[in-house]
């Protein structure tokens, strides 16, 4: 089963091409990592898959649905956590969850049930009635994940969910990701942390809008004779800089 399928997807902003003809596919239930330096085009790719940006050319299907024509349907099947915290700071944790429950068309009873489920799953019970603005970033990220999970989406896009978060919270967050994947959900995650790349089933390394490498962490380490993903990444970036025409 293929959850996300992308063929020669391209996005231009004016004369600048942020994403150049990328192709890949993500299997159902996979944790798919998206690595790359700042400005590599990770967020732009995710946004095209979530219906937030219209691609300039190429094809993409998410949950078997076409991003150009069936984005309304796609939105019901995906969860999305944006790179920048985008919930309401002046609302409490519970109010944020309740609002998004309503927005996704859940009934009152469903919202109540899901809220309790998510609060205990994310261990947010004690924070439930606090204003979101007062929470540390680690808790905010959990809240963002919980609203992205409200409608039980099968595919979840997480754009740098752990940036700016302390190592313990990061670890906890990845435990959540594993749990979600074990339930059969597909996780599409971008990160700057190379240790996190090791947790993924497969990673793609993006550089200047193109995918420079795509394989499992084990294979990549073997290929580059590296002991960890950090040095794989350094090698890929160096290679890409030395022979920019090969992409």
């Amino acid at each position: 089963m293929i959850a996300v399928e992308v063929k020669e997807l391209t996005r231009r902003f004016g004369n600048f091409t942020a994403v150049k003809k990328v192709s890949f596919s993500v299997r159902k239930g996979e944790i798919f990592g998206f690595l790359g330096a700042n400005g590599a085009g990770k967020t732009t790719t995710i946004r095209m898959l979530c219906g937030l940006l219209v691609p300039s050319s190429g094809q993409a299907r998410v949950a078997g649905l076409d991003v150009y024509t069936e984005y309304e349907q796609i939105k019901k099947n995906i969860g999305y956590m944006s790179q920048r915290f985008s919930l309401y700071e002046d609302l409490t944790v519970r109010e944020n969850i309740r609002f998004y429950g309503g927005v996704y068309g859940l009934s009152r009873a469903q919202i109540k049930e899901r809220t309790e489920e998510l609060l205990s799953f994310l261990k947010l019970h004690e924070q439930a009635h606090k204003l979101t603005a007062s929470l540390p970033l680690g808790w905010k990220q959990r809240l963002a994940l919980s609203t992205a999970m409200l409608h039980n989406p099968q595919i979840i896009f997480l754009d740098e969910p752990t940036s700016g978060v302390d190592p313990v919270s990061r670890k906890n967050f990845w435990l959540l990701i594993y749990q979600l994947a074990s339930e059969g959900r597909t996780i599409f995650v971008t990160t700057h942390f190379m240790d996190e790349a090791e947790y993924c089933n497969r990673v793609s390394i993006m550089q200047d809008g193109v995918i420079a490498e795509l394989d499992s962490p084990q294979e990549l380490k073997k290929k580059y004779h590296a002991s960890n993903m950090q040095s794989v990444f350094m090698n890929v970036v160096k290679r890409a800089q030395n022979e920019p025409d090969s992409f």
Binding site: R47, G51, L52, I78, S86, Y88, Y104
Partner: protein
Amino acid sequence: MNRILFSIIKKEFWHILRDYQTLMVILAWPVLMLLLFGYAVTLEMRQIETVVVDQSHTPQSRDFINALASTSFFKMVDSDVPQHDFEHILQERKARCILVLSPDFAQSLQVNPETKIQLLIDASDPNAANYIQNYLMQISAQYNFKTNTKLVLPFVVEPRILYNPDLKSYFFFVPGLVAVIILLISALLTSIAIVREKEVGTMEQILVSPVHPIQIIIGKTIPYTVIGFLDSALVLLMGHYLFHVPIIGSLWLLTFSMFLYIVTGLSFGLLISIITNSQQVAMLAVLMSTMLPTIMMSGFIFPVESMPVLFQYVSVIIPATHFLTIIRGILLKGSAFADLVPQLSYLALIAGFLITLSIRKFKTTLE
């Protein structure tokens, strides 16, 4: 569909109530504006400084002068100054008009069919000069009728001032001010509603959910309609109790037209919010595009009929033009629904156009 809309409305109320500082400003600002403009910028003229030169010194002349002095319009500041001082008095603005009754005033009243009195007016403010002249003519006419019962004229124009018998410009001015304030407030309220979410980044999360632009637009309009309505009612009540502006017409009709007008203002603010990318730009755009046209071209100060033809056409697309007719009509004349159908239709048309445009301009993607 309804549940989604309801969630958005509820959320918007949470925002409004949490930010109580802004809420206080929203509620206090119109009140302050009304007080400030209502008291400071009144077009009504009273206590016109007047110098009376009575060269006749007769009971008749004194009678006439008393008739003048008993109104609150003229205020006698000096009397019987020599003629060579007239120029000086007007130049120094010690008085705005000088009334001269010639030595033969009393005698002429008895023998001549017509008696002339002289009024020198400082016309550097032509409107005021006109006003002074008219007022003096009214008073002298009254004096004529009183003293000369045998006076026979071919016909007499006897104006009866309806709806505002005391010619109080408050009555004209305050409803106009209400119209300006309501439009400004309602447009400002929504002008940041969407652009703020774009700026803060929360719009991104909304856009990945299956919400339809219509739901966002309606959901954002409803809470602000309530706030706009509270504001308008507050201003109107102040106009009524503080400035004694009457409310002759139907309260229901007033409420209905105010609702329509508020929605027009809100939808204008929404459109601005949708097509701009920062809160500051949105608010500036609203201020620039509502203040000047509303004040200058809606009939708030200058009657639409006396404006250049081009401006008269422009005034049709300014919501305040129609609402001014409506609110003055309802408050001062007791106009009924049937009298105001054209104006109400125009408002509905403008609101409908703005909302349709908003929905079409609303982008469901980030750019």
